[in-house]
Subunit: 483 residues, 2 copies
Amino acid sequence: MTIDFEVIHKDIAGRVGKLRVNGRTVRTPALLPVINPHLPLVTPREMQEMGVEALITNAYIFRRSTEFCDRALAEGLHRILDFDGTIMTDSGSFQLSVYGEVEVTNRETLEFQQAIGSDIIVPLDIPTPPDAGRERTVRELAITMDRIREAQRLFPDANLAGPLQGGTFPDLREEAGRAIRDLGFSFCPIGAVVPLMENYRYQDLVEVVLAAKRGLSPATAIHLFGAGHPSMFALAVAMGCDLFDSAAYALFAREGRYITPHGSFKISEIAELPCPCPVCRSMTAEELRRSEDRERLLALHNLYVTLAEIARIRQAIQDGTLWELVDERCRSHPRLLAGYRRLLDHAADLVRHDTVSKRRFFYCGSESCRRTEVLRYHEVVPRIPVGERILVSFDGKAAPGFDTVLNFKPPFGPYPVELAETFPIGQSEIPDWDEEMVRSGCAGIRALMAANPESQLAVRCGDAWAPLVLEEVPGAEVCHERV
Amino acid sequence: MTIDFEVIHKDIAGRVGKLRVNGRTVRTPALLPVINPHLPLVTPREMQEMGVEALITNAYIFRRSTEFCDRALAEGLHRILDFDGTIMTDSGSFQLSVYGEVEVTNRETLEFQQAIGSDIIVPLDIPTPPDAGRERTVRELAITMDRIREAQRLFPDANLAGPLQGGTFPDLREEAGRAIRDLGFSFCPIGAVVPLMENYRYQDLVEVVLAAKRGLSPATAIHLFGAGHPSMFALAVAMGCDLFDSAAYALFAREGRYITPHGSFKISEIAELPCPCPVCRSMTAEELRRSEDRERLLALHNLYVTLAEIARIRQAIQDGTLWELVDERCRSHPRLLAGYRRLLDHAADLVRHDTVSKRRFFYCGSESCRRTEVLRYHEVVPRIPVGERILVSFDGKAAPGFDTVLNFKPPFGPYPVELAETFPIGQSEIPDWDEEMVRSGCAGIRALMAANPESQLAVRCGDAWAPLVLEEVPGAEVCHERV
């Protein structure tokens, strides 16, 4: 297998990387637009001019098409689609998820994908739907794994992807991840997640993807198969997904739906085009609605905003501001917010993926208290050298009789003056202190006390914070009368 | 004065409206790009093609320009700028704020603005900077008001704007608002706020604008003079601002800065162009950086995203989703978040501006508990008809022995089944219940108890919520064992 994946930048569990296949490079995170050769709303050539480096098409459709099958075999996909970038093919597994059966074997689809010149080929995995019983999920996962092994055996030199199934059972997803890792795959599509996304089940999506990640090698490029809407890309990337494929730009256009990174609108219902893309800055909503070219114009708009979101995510990773972007996007729908909060439940696991130092930390609301940077700081606190009598001073003023005086910055906690300029203390911006962030800072004080059980600790805080400090830091002396 | 302003849609204190001047109409909220005739990076004609309906230019610059003064007097502004829309002129007040003096009198600038065919003319107001002493602020406000009255006396038929000053003293801003209201102005620029925005003092900005609004008539179109960056437009509109003017698209371009609605980047520091505009989808960040046309391309990009943000705000007002947009934008910087929280401090005042029923309520985080819709619901709760024994049921299940059984939906509170389909109960989407929203819902229970002191109230909730309910609703019986 000659799919090569290199990680260049990291943030949370997300990365900017390079996927190299057959001499071509795809920058990740990447969106692979889905091309249906029968309905070319936007041509692959146009997409290439918009910056698309890879796309995905369905080998099963080509194979069954009287119009395209022979041409594809004779000319190859790149020529027939007029696209110089990387082309991935799906096996027919999507049709399996929709129709329950397909007229092709694993071997046949793999042979066909290679014969038409696909750059990344996928075995015929079984897309077990969410909430299928455990027995069925186990049985179908076993078939998928058999087919993956068969693919490796039959085509040892092919650019094979290793699709990951396991339904909504985290342990099965993790097990599948370990198996795919052990088989040496560098490219793994996580399958059968579309129904979760269609039903806004982002909490379940987080559990499924994180479970898969636990099993997989961190060096593997992860493709979230069938995802999806740009509003969830940032969340998915934060979990470690690197590639998306989406027919949404075209499907939504057909239904008259206008995509934005913060949700979709029916074009019949909007009076304004809230977007800077070439389509939206060249006409009014009314003109778009009435255009004979409406479906194509909507598809172009949908694609522009989707590609811009991918660019924004890449930039955020390089800036170390992916948490801020996840926060922004996930507040656009309460179910995404639920997914974000679920991801924060796993912050202790994410800490080991995340970078130690970032450009900045912007406090975006109480959820920020649970970010990896705060957890990591609380892990650092016990290493602060202290004497027998410690003062944590909320207002930065000292008091007599202490061996160690530490400052305090919520949501992090106590810090010595030596850390004042370092990340995150020096590079964090917070609004006026609020209860949530001071509680989080108090967790830092508790970490300090736990690491120094012989020391005595006092907190110098204003009267307003004294009750909260007394509640959050039992055993500390609160010298609030001094402030 | 023949400036006419009509409000079409409302949300919070924001509105979509139509400003009619000299037979032309400007949809609001609107951005008036600032045109410097000496530095036409983007031409007014190009702006018109991008959807710009009004612009602002500086009469003082025209008056002192050997190149443009005579031409402007001979041909008029519309012809010289090649722009068919509405043109507003500044008086020289901006130069006063920068240089401390100008070589023009109030009468002279007003005469000149009229002579060159400006559609909206502004007296020579005194831009008192923030934090100026009270004495100076009072004195300068008196001069501004004298000049406004002089303008009305000298030019009773002119399309006069009534600029509002008063520094950072809310009472003076409110007083100025009342005076301008009493003089009958339908168009009011709020002045001298640029230094607040430049220094991210959004809390102060909220206080200044809300104070001005308290004094002004709700029928007056409000122009936030010199604003600014698209990241703060939603916040400003929520307070009731209708027009912005901004040189930022050009000034930032000159400094190599790339505007987004969530903050700005130095073009030298970005690897990706995270935007769907025609500039960003036609080249890479590297190509933009190296382009000979860089300044103009950046100005175009900056203008595209700024206009798109205005369109998004108008759409949000029509959808009744302006709070969600304010929430999204204000989390992009902790100082904006502080401004948003300050605005929420004034929610009780905003309720009387806000619409009663909206399309939806999306919970975006704990700040959502303080939104106008929640406050308004708590005002409605006392009107729920109840019997002597009331049960508020968290799980929707009844229990024997009660006259009235109410359901519970946080962050709103108790509701009878008759309200289940009405706004906000039926149209609100929330993630898994969190502490903040249940506390807010408990405030609704307290409102019910206060309105029905003769009734006995019990709350049926799970064990997990019982301690919080006991704390928040003293006097209620908690039957948590039943769940």
